[in-house]
């Protein structure tokens, strides 16, 4: 019941927003719905509901392990959104608010989907709901980014549908009755037709990998994150990618039950490391600080894919990393939005000296940079440490070495861009622009809260989260 409420409440909020008169008051619906959603998910985190084995939609251990992080991220973005939309008061926000709330409902549905078809429907709807949010700024560049997002994302989502059909046919060919819930597919296990399972795995990994932004299907990411408003980029980087990641985890469990877990793990290691290498190389070359965040996101998706391939300990660490990634990416995109508005530009040639123009946002941005480059004592340091340990324990020494090398180069790339825009003397005339966008509490507190949360899970990891991740790993690796 509560599982359905997580979906129904945001949709009710979206409908209300669509009918609401008054552009000034409408944005307040976002934090209200976000708060209710967060309270509900955390309630369910502490008091997990029983899950019927055949349910199509449920707050199962895997959803419990990641959805609260996404909910928290949305709450911060929603709080920031009120101030953001006031600053951008010249644009009507009816569609924006309604779709952002619908996005939250679809994110809840995607995380809780335990049925192959339902999961696809939720992911496709997520892709489409994000489209009008991306071109909120209405510039030619925004439309270009939206077109690339639609074309690459649409193709990816089509491939994952084809993969879902193949997995369905694997079940049918093996004598299954057409029950496409993940529980039923896993139970069929070795009865699934092996060739079809492998075809399905390749297509689903390519399809959901596109949504996650794994290289080489990441090409939409820099364009989209570079042009979309900060809140939207944060929700895409911290929420939508998480849905795609849990989808890959669920499918991997089915493939492993069919007896091809080793092949699935090999492909995950390969695609994860390739994403990290590509991201590290582009991070060394990019001159645009919003595109830089997109490449950093590609890198972290690589980290997640690698973790997912490294057995129980790896998946546990990957779920930990999902939290760190979602919360830190939120803080970075929100503070980057503040800097971008005040600087009126986004490349190293235009932007410098932000430490004097927007001191608070610059401080948040630099701290966020240290979080995503896995500096202690923040959460990602510990999750990546666990992934490295899992790699060496499962005899993936070479992968562990490449992983560490990529982290080092990503660190060089990120620090290069971040300090170039923070340090130095601002361009003449920028003081006037910066004064138009003062650093109010509304745009500083949400990213600060996210950073505090990511520091919190680094310093003292709550017992309930450890237990939630252990339960999710047990769901994905049934048996001894």
């Amino acid at each position: 019941m509560k599982a359905l409420l997580l979906i129904a409440i945001p949709f009710a909020g979206a409908a209300l927003a669509a009918l609401w008169r008054g552009d000034r008051t409408r944005p307040w619906l976002m934090p209200v719905v976000g708060l209710v959603h967060t309270v509900l998910t955390f309630w369910m985190l502490f008091d997990p509901p029983a899950v019927a084995p055949g349910a199509w939609l449920a707050f199962d251990p895997l959803a419990r392990a990641v959805l609260p992080a996404v909910s928290l991220l949305f709450l911060a973005c929603a709080a920031y959104g009120v101030s953001y939309l006031r600053v951008r008061g010249e644009r009507p926000n009816r569609v924006f608010v309604a779709l952002l709330l619908a996005l939250l409902g679809l994110l809840s549905a995607g995380h809780q989907a335990r049925h192959l078809g339902l999961l696809w429907i939720a992911t496709e709807a997520l892709t489409l709901a994000a489209v009008p949010l991306l071109h909120f700024n209405g510039t030619a560049r925004a439309f270009e980014a939206t077109w690339k997002y639609l074309l690459v994302g649409g193709t990816g989502i089509a491939l994952s549908l084809l993969g879902s059909f193949c997995l369905g046919y694997a079940s049918l060919h093996g004598g299954g009755g057409g029950d496409l819930t993940f529980a039923a597919l896993t139970a069929q296990g070795a009865g699934l037709s092996r060739p079809w399972v492998l075809i399905a795995w390749v297509l689903l990994l390519a399809g959901y990998g596109t949504k996650m932004g794994l290289a080489p299907m990441h090409t939409w990411k820099p364009d989209t994150y570079g042009e979309a408003p900060g809140i939207v980029s944060a929700m895409l980087a911290g929420g939508v990618t998480t849905v795609a990641f849990t989808a890959i985890l669920r499918v991997r469990a089915v493939v492993a039950a069919a007896g091809d877990g080793a092949i699935a793990d090999h492909t995950l290691v390969a695609i994860g490391l390739f994403s990290m290498i590509v991201a590290a190389l582009f991070l060394l070359g990019t001159r645009d600080f919003k595109r830089m965040l997109a490449y950093s996101s590609v890198e972290h998706m690589g980290v997640l894919a690698l973790g997912a391939a490294l057995g129980r300990a790896g998946v546990w660490a990957a779920l930990f990393h999902v939290w760190g990634n979602s919360l830190a990416k939120g803080a970075l995109f929100l503070s980057a939005g503040n800097i971008r508005r005040a600087a009126g530009g986004r490349t190293l040639d235009e932007v410098r000296g932000m430490a004097t123009l927007t001191p608070r946002s610059a401080a948040l941005f630099v701290t966020g940079m240290f979080v995503v480059t896995a500096c202690p004592p923040f959460g990602p340091f510990f999750s990546e440490l666990r992934i490295v340990r899992a790699a060496f324990e499962t005899h993936h020494g070479a992968a562990g070495a490449v992983f560490l090398g990529c982290l080092l180069f990503a660190f060089f790339g990120l620090t290069r861009v971040v300090f170039a825009i923070v340090d130095g003397r601002p361009r003449p005339g920028l003081h006037a622009t910066a004064r138009r966008y003062p650093e109010t509490l509304g745009v500083i507190l949400p990213p600060l809260a996210l950073l505090a949360a990511v520091l919190g899970i680094g310093l003292a990891l709550p017992e309930v989260l450890r237990e939630a991740w252990t339960a999710a790993v047990a769901q994905l690796y049934p048996g001894p």
């Binding site: 078809g117 496709e124 270009e144 077109w147 549908l161 049918l172 057409g178 595109r291």
Partner: protein, 213 residues
């Protein structure tokens, strides 16, 4: 029943080649529209007994794929004042050859796949693979946004054909959900095409090159 289905899939595969070889956008759109209609008919032919839900899905598919979406594309094409694909990334003859080779490979490759006895005699799997390949060639090889959307539609038609393998086992609720999503997807794409036309005053995707490293 199987021979009728195979005939329709053959028609759809022929339309793939027509879409690949034509430089005129109206004929590509028309090929996609006819293909959508043909595929919409298939579920009716495949079910032995009449089922109102299947009939409903078939009618909606035909209306959407055969009339509504092509109509949207034609309107975008007229407002952008283009009716011809000039200088595609992959020429018309090479793409036709690619499509033909892909079709042959699809027929040969489908033999290697394990199929249930009732599907072994049909062209469903080769038809699906050939359409997916055709869709990819159009998506990659054409420069005009409308041609790319047509490629995406053919890609989706291929996936739809593959989905027919599962029509007896998956609940129609799922199928109709998927259909709805696809339709909305194309609708959104249509709107974006329209916006790009207004923002860039062109539907040539070669102009969309501001964003790069």
């Amino acid at each position: 029943m199987s021979s009728n289905v195979n005939f329709l899939i053959g028609v759809a595969m022929g339309l793939n080649l027509l879409a690949l070889g034509s430089s005129r956008l109206p004929s590509v759109i028309r090929a996609v529209a006819v293909q959508g209609m043909v595929l919409g008919l298939m579920p009716l032919l495949m079910e032995e007994s009449f089922h109102w839900m299947v009939a409903f899905v078939a009618v909606v598919t035909m209306a959407m794929k055969g009339y509504f979406i092509p109509h949207l594309l034609s309107r975008a094409m007229r407002s952008a004042n283009i009716d011809r694909e000039v200088e595609p990334f992959i020429g018309f003859v090479p793409s036709l050859l690619l499509g033909a080779a892909g079709t042959i490979a699809a027929v040969a490759g489908a033999r290697a796949l394990p199929l249930l006895p009732e599907h072994a005699g049909t062209l469903l799997v080769p038809g699906a693979l050939a359409s997916v390949l055709t869709g990819f060639v159009l998506l990659i090889g054409r420069a005009k946004a409308i041609s790319q959307v047509c490629g995406y539609l053919i890609l989706e038609n291929g996936i739809y054909l593959f989905g027919l393998l599962l029509i007896r086992s998956t609940p129609l609720l799922v199928e109709s959900g998927i259909l709805l999503d696809l339709t909305v997807g194309i609708f959104v794409i249509g709107i974006i095409v329209d916006r790009i036309q207004r923002a860039f005053d062109s539907l040539d995707t070669r102009k969309l090159t501001v964003l790069r490293e």
